[in-house]
Symmetry: C2
Subunit: 745 residues, 2 copies
């Protein structure tokens, strides 16, 4: 009996045990493995906060002090050794790895012992009014023997003597005014052009096309001084009359001797005579010098919009007025080209779950002189961001995806480092890069954030800007607590005043090869000045006066604007690197396409109709894109986050959208620019055209002698846009629909 009892108890115990095991195994499980659980969760928001705290204004100040302490033009020892090694060592010891890449590329310099200048040459051969060969030293930190005097890269050397002509901004419209309205013959003249409106390389190209024998570029105070003419450096941030803007004239991107292939050791280098470089000598001067020549000119008084703010009567020429009517202007240029080694440095943080997806952050390193704004304000910020992230790593953070920092060389000469890098590593970067986030310079003013980005990144930009504290205490007091708040107030969208303006990406910085060759979604951010000044750029742009003094005394004393840019940049990177789903807004792309088509319809619609053409194929394609984008967004929202391959499928589709806009044949046959929706304007490489192939085909079409051929080109471009947009839609559609309509029956 007792025995029975014991057995009974044991039986009950065993039964309970078995029940327990069953409950434990099936009732509580199926448990996901811990790694799978983590893999299905967005990055912890605490890391955003920690990153923001770790980004220190003072550290950025110290970085800028270091980077802008000496001139560091591409190809110099300071740039290719001191700074490169510093960055490499920093990243090598703080991130997961770092690497230096070398490229041998064609650069250009003025002759240090035989300076470029401009003068007036009398009929007797006497030179007068020589321009300054050196920019005057206005603060002690400019005094450095390695400063390279003002020049325009890739100008041929040569001595030109000719009649001066004032060509305003040297835009195609300006040249048309002179040649069509005034019937002026520009052959053999020396054009005096003011900087502004368009890329200087385009000015020179147009000058060549219209017959000019040389070109002098100067910065008019109308475009480079925001207030009174005495509010200039070092008292204020206006450009003094002694400053001149350096800059490249290259029309292409990358090393001109190795188009489309990297300038590595096994490269095939073209001969200089086989490539297209500027054919007329060019040099930049300051406005004190420009006034000497412009004030003596003859000819009609320049139209109102051609007048700058010099205290002279602007005349178009050609030639000088009495008593100098027999004098010529002389342009003396000894600029030369030379192959040199330039370097990129990469720093890498390896992602935990998707190491083969890269969030790429980039900034160029080379400057024309001290570069305290361009680019070292960006470099200082990037180094601080990488330091802050390395701190996070120490505290246990590990991003889902990899993060790649890129310090590019020789950007100033024509995006050379980034383009060569993309050419060398395009297969890797093209298939793995989630997005490219560029900061060329952190600030060129402190009025508001300014951003360029493809539409897919707008939402992410806005969300990040909302998270970043406003660096302007006055704005905070006015109730605008975030970077976003001031942005939307000071720079609202032209289409919707309730959101901030985001510009299109041209080829102004290193995002161009990523967007235009690889089709990687990209953005570029900085703080900018008040738009009311209508400046051509920040005044000290590419002059010797871009010094630490300018930044730390006149533009960002507490480095709070730098800090805000670093935080914004870091937050965008964190979201792209850490969140399960890519924060890409495909519907925004669709809506932007709709707006572009609407604008095109009002601009070109009637003209097209006259030629029995219409934008209907594009409209249809865009509507298809809109539907596909909405459907993809819905699928993204519903995705099972615990299935890594389902998530990856959606993310790959999101990544693919921008890539689908790439036409491997190039826009209008130009293989440097392949993005069918946005590419640099053919007459101004700084800005982007929408549907650039079509825009180029329509440009000035009335004046083309071969009407038939041009309208056929228009027809072809309409077809290419429609095809490309449809092709992009097909990548967004559900996986079982190949090429448009679902195959499900």
């Amino acid at each position: 009996m007792h025995r029975m009892k014991i057995l009974g108890i044991i039986a009950i115990g065993v039964a309970f045990l078995v029940i327990g095991i069953l409950i434990g195994h099936f009732g509580i499980t199926p448990d996901q493995p811990a790694w799978l659980q983590r893999m299905s969760k967005d990055g912890d928001p605490k890391y955003s906060q920690q990153l923001f705290q770790k980004i220190q204004a003072e550290e950025i100040r110290k970085n800028l002090q270091f980077f802008s302490s000496k001139p560091h033009i591409a190809g110099s020892t300071q740039e290719e050794e001191v700074l490169v090694n510093y960055i490499h060592k920093t990243w090598q010891t703080s991130l997961h790895g770092a690497k230096i890449y070398n490229y041998t590329v064609l650069l250009s310099y003025p002759n240090a012992s035989d300076s470029n200048y401009v003068s007036i040459l009398s009929v007797d051969g006497i030179e007068s009014d020589l321009s300054e060969k050196v920019e005057k030293i206005l603060s002690p930190d400019q005094n450095d023997s390695t400063v390279v005097n003002p020049f325009n890269a890739y100008s041929p050397s040569g001595v030109i003597v000719g009649d001066p002509v004032y060509v305003n901004y040297a835009t195609v419209e300006d040249f048309h005014y002179l040649t069509r309205n005034l019937s002026m013959n520009l052959n053999g003249t020396v054009a005096i052009a003011r900087y502004g409106k368009i890329f200087r390389g385009d000015k020179v190209k147009l000058g060549e096309m219209f017959g000019c024998a040389g070109m002098i570029l100067y910065s008019d105070p109308a475009d480079y001084v925001s207030g009174d003419l005495d509010r200039v450096f070092p008292v204020d941030w206006g450009l003094p009359g002694t400053g001149a803007q350096r800059g490249t004239l290259l029309q292409t991107i990358g090393d001109p001797l190795t188009p489309f292939y990297p300038s590595t050791s096994s490269a095939f280098f073209l001969n200089e005579q086989d490539i297209e470089l500027p054919k007329i000598p060019v040099t930049p001067i300051g406005y004190n010098d420009a006034a000497k020549y412009l004030s003596k000119m003859s000819g009609m008084e320049a139209p109102g919009q051609w007048k700058g703010k010099l205290n002279i009567t602007y005349r178009v020429g050609p030639g000088f007025a009495s008593p100098f009517e027999k004098s010529k202007i002389k342009l003396y240029v000894k600029t030369y080209n030379i192959q040199k080694t330039i370097k990129n440095v990469f720093g890498f943080i390896e992602g935990q779950y998707e190491p083969d997806r890269y969030v790429v952050l980039g900034n160029h390193r080379d400057a024309w002189v001290f570069g305290a704004i361009d680019p070292s304000s960006g470099t200082a910020t990037m180094m601080e961001l990488s330091r802050a992230m390395s701190q996070l790593l120490k505290e246990g953070w590990r991003p889902r995806r990899s993060i790649l920092f890129c310090s590019w060389g020789a950007e100033e000469y024509g995006l050379i480092g980034s383009t060569e890098g993309v050419e060398e590593m395009g297969k890797v970067l093209g298939s793995r890069t989630v997005a490219y986030l560029n900061v060329d310079l952190s600030l060129e003013g402190n009025s508001t954030l300014r951003a360029l980005a493809t539409p897919i990144l707008h939402k992410l930009l806005f969300a990040a800007a909302k998270k970043v504290e406003n660096p302007n205490p006055d704005e905070v007091r006015a109730g605008r607590r975030s970077v976003y708040d001031t942005w939307v107030k000071n720079l609202p969208s032209r289409h919707d005043p309730n959101i901030p303006r985001v510009g299109n990406l041209g080829s102004g910085s290193d995002y161009a090869p990523f967007l235009q060759v690889l089709g990687v979604s990209a953005a570029d951010v900085r703080y900018t000045y008040d738009q009311k000044y209508s400046l051509a750029s920040y005044p000290m742009y590419h002059s010797v006066y871009e010094t630490m003094h300018l930044v730390s005394h006149l533009m960002d004393q507490g480095f709070k604007y730098h800090q805000a840019v670093a935080r914004l940049w870091g937050e965008m990177a964190l979201r792209l690197a850490d969140d399960v789903l890519l924060n890409f807004d495909c519907v925004q792309y669709a809506e932007t396409l709709r707006r572009i088509v609407k604008d095109l319809q009002s601009t070109y619609g009637p003209k097209l109709q006259e030629h029995n053409m219409s934008l209907d194929p594009i409209k249809e394609a865009v509507e298809g894109f809109h539907q596909a984008a909405k459907a993809l967004q819905e699928r993204a929202e519903k995705v099972n986050r615990e299935n890594p391959l389902e998530v990856r499928k959606i993310n790959d589709q999101l990544m693919q959208i921008e890539r689908s806009f790439i036409d491997p044949l190039g826009v209008g046959g130009n293989l440097l620019y392949r993005h069918v929706i946005y590419a640099p304007n053919q007459h101004n490489h700084y800005v982007a055209s929408s549907f650039p192939g079509l825009a180029a085909a329509m440009f000035d079409i009335e004046n083309d002698p071969n009407q038939e051929r041009r309208w056929q080109q228009v027809k072809k471009e309409i077809s290419i846009v429609a095809y490309t947009v449809t092709s992009a839609s097909s990548t967004m559609q559900d996986i079982n629909s190949i090429g448009g309509v679902s195959m499900k029956y």
Copy 2:
């Protein structure tokens, strides 16, 4: 007390329960979720066996009966309606979905009421010896009113009267023999060329280049009859003298009016006069007719290798011999071009875990006439394979990746359907296709398997061939149980007799746009005839005699060879679709590259050295590739199969290798062929050159008047190959190494 006991028992029970729960939860778990477990396992081998069983020879026979019952030339009702709808309906009801795609493309036909012919025209204007306009009916199944008589697509129409010249195979060497060795002037002559050695389009192109006014293509029994001249159809498989080979002359692939873009409704169509089509009239004839003209020719007796098997004295001409010395040959061609709608049909099986990875199987549908071999023997096989897979689906199989069946239109005219399909859906197919497996025709003989493939697929091909039962009972009796066993015996590799030969992919079938435009790894398989016959192709190629009778009586009575091809094709697809890791052999690619370099070195090394060049940059690049491939293979072997993203990372790297060989600028600037390692030979589009850009640059370089330019081209091509191979290595390297060397410190 009793109460205490009960409490004690309860306590013990609870304790046991808790222990049980703990054991159940932690002791047995952590369990992976079931889906994750399944996701980390290769496909069940039982499905291979089941698939093999389900593939029935009798079903293939019935399919072939249906598909070859009527002529189905591209653009005909039978082809674009009856067959298209049949396939679409079949797949729509048996697979997960199906879709038809339309393209409006330029096709070409002979004029049905004004036939092409050849004759002898006397000096008095009397025509004699007219060629047959219709191929003689030799078996009742050829009797069909929709047969299109022999012609060459895209020949211009025209009537040419001139002196005949016999140009052998019309290769560049043949033309050089006539013009250089014999100093013959070919201007205005009518070339009589025999089919064989090179693509007919290249013969015509060369004829044009060397001044011929027209060309007659005929099939010499030396190249189209394997035994005695009476062993011909319908008694045996030799080509009877009444048969003529149709075929396209197009030098490009895809619709010639819409290069690089799809011929969809919004396409921009070029005008015919703006594209490159053959400029001289061409027509094919049978050897009975050819003998009439060749036997009357004057001039030197043709060299030994120029002699065919006609019972005549082969003479090169020009002109006819006495008594016909004043007669000319007349070529009367009324072939015309016309835009028509052609169609592709897709059938889809959606993958369970990686639906966004496609294994693509393709075959073209259009035939010149009945097409019982080309392509319907392939179509019959594809339809059976899709039927067998649909049966598996019903029994619970679901592949890991998606499977896409493609029935291409208008392949015969120049891979038009597949090229337009790739142009339309390139963004989707290019980013998702794992591999493209083509079967153009299932068999052209029954001696051995013949395969073309990129090196990365060789291993998979061999493994599949080992699994498939030998369809030849004699071979099985001789101890060769598998398809592989006979393959390695009858067609051993030229480099290693222990493995079978695998050829390179030229542009002979629909794999070309996949490989050459998208960079998708590809293979093409069929059963072939004994190589000892040295035939130009299977004898009945593109003649009216390619009928069901030929296949079912003379070539594959039991349809066992068809069945073997279906099984092989199916097994390759299953492995690629079902296995966790892609069965891609990157080390084989490396070893092949090494061998190519070695061959190049012995062919070109000394010549290069004379010009101070070497293949060293390529050698270095190939060694780097080899190292990277071995390392990737090792990582693949060690990969944690339970982590889906780690597996995906490796698979994406494997997929990327072939894509890395694509140069978006095209090989030697030809945008139709972009694969730097293999592209169609510039003088014979049927076969592939290794390092085609370099091969083209070196070809006949001694005779180029501009030596400097040509050698610069050689230098450039060496650089491009070195760059491309290095670029491919970079995609294989571990994810933290960007561009070569690991960034790990």
